[in-house]
């Protein structure tokens, strides 16, 4: 890289307002966006607020919008940009701003409390809990989730509609629900909760969540659509509906 300097516009401000401020720092080989932020902190803006932990793409703390694209700052290499290009760094939009790049993500933690937990099936006759790799494979995909909440951030149901958050759980929680529903040891029934309390029906499978997932979880295809099918099978199957009518059930 010919350029020895990188230029970054970083959002500075809080809930009451703010502005982008431009910083220049020396370039270093292999740098990621989070390195630039740390250099800015150490040399120019010690109070620049940012959330981060592992710096290795494993904890999901450093989500932000880099040139308008939701990314993990620690996994976004500077050499993926045009040399000399000014990079714009903003906090994720869907959650209330606390300060600078830090937002209030408590929405996700509150929703997590409402998910019905694992309810264990009985053990095998020999006292063990056997599960086979092919049965756990699809749930292990969901367990890769690092809770960066980028999928929540891009979901159009809540991104521009604060009022929908009350009754919409969002893709992260759909993945969580799918992981429980498909867990080989689970005996809980969450279909009514999914239908009535999570807003799953409002997802119109635009796959924005899948596109931004840094763990490449197939959120739409493997979690959301199968959940929708379960709800449909339970509540909207015409044959079952007719049988229930004939039997005089609800």
């Amino acid at each position: 890289m010919a350029d020895t300097e990188v230029t970054m516009r970083v959002w500075r401000g809080d809930a009451s307002g703010g502005e982008f401020k431009e910083y220049r720092v020396p370039a270093q080989e292999g740098m990621v966006v989070l390195d630039v932020v740390h250099t800015i902190q150490a040399t120019q803006a010690p109070d620049l607020a940012v959330r981060w932990n592992c710096k290795a793409g494993k904890c999901g703390s450093c989500s932000a919008e880099v040139n308008g694209k939701p990314r993990l700052m620690c996994m976004t290499r500077m050499n993926t940009f045009v040399p000399g290009e000014t990079i714009t760094l903003a906090p994720v939009k869907t959650f209330p701003l606390i300060r600078d790049l830090v937002t209030d993500v408590s929405f996700n933690y509150e929703k997590a409390k409402t998910i019905p937990p694992l309810k264990l099936k009985a053990k095998e006759a020999d006292g063990t809990r056997r599960m086979f790799q092919e049965d756990v494979d699809r749930v292990q995909e969901f367990h890769k989730c690092i809770e960066c909440f980028l999928c929540q951030n891009v979901c159009h149901v809540i991104r521009d509609h604060e009022e929908n958050k009350e009754w919409f759980a969002g893709p992260r929680l759909f993945v969580r629900l799918a992981s429980l529903e498909m867990h080989p040891l689970d005996a809980n029934d969450r279909k009514e909760v999914i239908k009535e309390q999570t807003g799953l029906g409002f997802c119109n499978i635009t796959k924005c969540c899948t596109e931004v997932c840094p763990e490449n979880i197939h959120i739409t295809d493997n979690a959301i659509i199968p959940l929708k099918e379960r709800v449909v099978d339970e509540y909207y199957d015409p044959v079952l509906w007719l049988l229930r009518k004939l039997r005089g059930e609800q």
């Binding site: 080989e29 109070d47 620049l48 290795a56 793409g57 756990v136 890769k144």
Partner: protein, 599 residues
């Protein structure tokens, strides 16, 4: 009682929400005591999330010959017999139960053909012993515990940083800290405190540790007079990334070698065969043929030297680089590409594949990785009772990396996650019992609280102009250069001098801005504990005049049997450190016999 500060009252306050803290909170809460869980990051982001390879537990699923006695023996020998034998025994005995319990809470480990938990090879373990999920076992563990804790309705205080503990007549009485979001102070009155705060690796420049590893728990305990032991025992993990500079230190799991990877120098030689010490000679393969056959047949072959304990491998890499046989960027080569299929590598090591591809433009299914030692773990820490995890301060308990004793002079890979579960549970259990036994009001000295509050706000009033980031960088350079893998008295004494200067500079630290989510202020406060643990580690390293495990002295290159019988105990009285050598607990004869059978 002043209502100047937000105040909460609990029976048990758990500080730290990694594996140990979460497991402790789950246990204490289940026993019916009022429990709070406090963490300085968001829930689920603690350092446990970065653990890769697995949880060591003698389940015997892959090798039925495995049992707690073999695990116990491996742990003690890996720790160069400096371990607390009782902790090592409890750990080996209880780990399988804890892993199975995790499965009942929803964890999905990789499976054997017959549907049980699969186990993988790791350094220093005689049999394939690590329950795992690819190379993201820590994520599985923390998420399982997190969700379990959430469903149990435990009170969680996120992004809340505890700065000082409070005592009343020598007993635990409270904890005081700040909310990161608002910068406002918060007071917890409590009968018991459990530390599950992790390690101290951020005092070094090249480290696999996250920003949280600033030695908070060790320092909270030190500041209320608790004993520390083994602070000189620092583990440098042999395989951290070395290139590019911005990722230097990030962990490369031992699972790469467990799954068939091998270390090579610049001449292509598998150099670990040159570094088999007498201590491990009888159980280590001495030819490439035997080493490679061992992966498939452990009965008729001895273990590959690539999987010697971490202290041995880190020293070997260090020596190869010093001898001029290193890789282009000052590490050595870790090759799995030429030894396993691309599909196998992607299945077994998906995070490593992703990490090298994204951060270093290296495809590990086609090219070797460049790796070198990185500061990873502290074996030393708060001295605890082996059964109860009680520290030497009544009401203060510690579990996980912040506690010392289980791992002795060197920790085996995989023994950390099991440590968190076994002793996290025990901490929750005994802290709850302690709290139940202590009825009556908790008294907190508000004058003391006021003094602490003033100290914590001092950086805003300071006009000394010292930048907290510069002090931290200078400390990291000092520890990296002078208290690293290979140590000498002169350099250690130089480090003490530099730390003394940094302590003076910290008094002149000033921060900009206001109290709301201000990382500069947070770092200025963390420097108190970083400098404290750095000093303790250096003092311990000067005192131990021998080489053992994670402590290698160029001026005392041999293990000294006399030092093998003692812990270096370090404590602070009236602001001054004192050091003593105290005998290790004596192992009972029936356990000693386990080491005589196999010489």
């Amino acid at each position: 009682m002043s209502d100047k500060y937000e105040t909460h009252e609990y029976d048990v306050v758990v500080i730290g929400a990694g594996g140990a803290g979460l497991r402790a909170a789950v246990e204490a809460s289940a026993l019916g005591v009022k429990t709070a869980l406090i963490c300085k990051s968001l829930l689920g982001k603690a350092h446990t999330v970065m653990a890769e390879g697995g949880i060591a537990a003698a389940l015997g699923n892959v090798y039925p010959e495995d049992n707690w006695k073999v695990h116990f023996r491996d742990t003690m020998r890996g720790g160069k017999m400096l371990n607390n034998w009782r902790m090592a025994q409890l750990h080996a005995q209880e780990a399988p139960e804890r892993v199975l319990e995790l499965e009942e809470w929803g964890a999905l480990f990789d499976r054997t053909q017959d549907g049980r938990i699969l186990q993988r090879d790791f350094g220093g373990h005689r049999y394939a012993r690590l329950a795992h999920v690819g190379d993201r076992t820590g994520l599985e563990m923390i998420r399982t515990l997190q969700q379990h804790a959430v469903h149990k309705g435990i009170d969680v205080y996120m992004e809340c940083n505890i700065q000082r503990l409070l005592t009343d007549g020598g007993r635990m009485a409270g904890a005081f800290g700040y909310w990161r979001e608002s910068g406002k102070f918060v007071l917890f009155k409590t009968k018991a405190v459990i530390l599950g705060t992790g390690g101290i690796g951020k005092a070094w420049k090249f480290t696999s540790n996250s920003w949280e590893y600033t030695g908070d728990g060790v320092t909270l305990a030190t500041d209320v007079g608790a004993d520390l032991i083994d602070m000189e025992m620092i583990q440098f993990h042999p395989t951290g990334m070395v290139w590019p500079p911005s990722v230097r230190g990030i962990l490369v799991t031992e699972g790469v070698r467990g799954d068939g990877g091998t270390l090579k120098n610049s001449t292509g030689k598998r150099f670990m065969f040159d570094y088999i010490t007498d201590y491990f000679r009888a159980e280590t393969a001495d030819s490439e043929k035997e080493a490679d056959a061992w992966y498939e047949d452990k009965k008729n072959n001895r273990r590959t030297p690539d999987l010697l304990p971490r202290d041995e491998v880190a020293r070997a890499i260090n020596a190869e680089v010093k001898a001029g046989r290193g890789s282009p960027h000052g590490g050595v080569l870790l090759d799995i590409a030429s030894r396993r299929s691309a599909d196998y590598i992607k299945k077994r090591l998906p995070s490593m594949y992703h990490q090298f591809k994204e951060l270093a433009d290296v495809d590990i299914t086609k090219e070797p990785m460049e790796v070198g030692p990185t500061c990873h773990y502290v074996m030393g820490g708060v001295r605890v009772n082996a059964d109860t995890t009680a520290s030497t301060v009544p009401g203060l308990f510690a579990a996980g990396e912040v506690a010392a004793g289980l791992h002795g002079a060197n920790r085996l890979g995989g023994n950390s996650l099991s440590d968190l579960l076994v002793f996290g549970r025990r901490a929750g259990l005994y802290a709850a019992e302690y709290a139940k036994a202590h009825t009556g009001a908790i008294t907190v000295d508000m004058g003391q609280v006021e003094d602490i509050a003033n100290t914590l706000l001092a950086p805003f009033n300071g006009n000394g102009g010292e930048n907290p980031y510069s002090i931290h960088a200078d400390l990291q350079n000092c520890m990296q250069n002078l208290v690293g893998i290979i140590r000498t008295e002169n350099e250690l004494r130089q480090a003490l001098k530099e730390i003394a200067v940094l302590k003076e500079r910290l008094k002149k630290v000033s921060v900009e801005g206001h109290r709301q989510y201000n990382p500069g202020w947070h770092l200025a406060l963390d420097l108190h504990s970083l400098l404290s643990v750095a000093e303790a580690a250096t003092l311990g390293a000067i005192e131990r005049k021998e080489s053992r495990g994670g402590h290698t002295r160029e001026d005392y290159p041999e293990a000294d049997p006399q030092f093998g019988k003692v812990n270096i105990v370090i404590r602070k009285k009236n602001g001054e450190w004192t050091l003593t050598r105290e005998p290790l607990p004596e192992m009972p004869d029936e356990l000693k016999a386990l080491f005589e059978e196999k010489k």
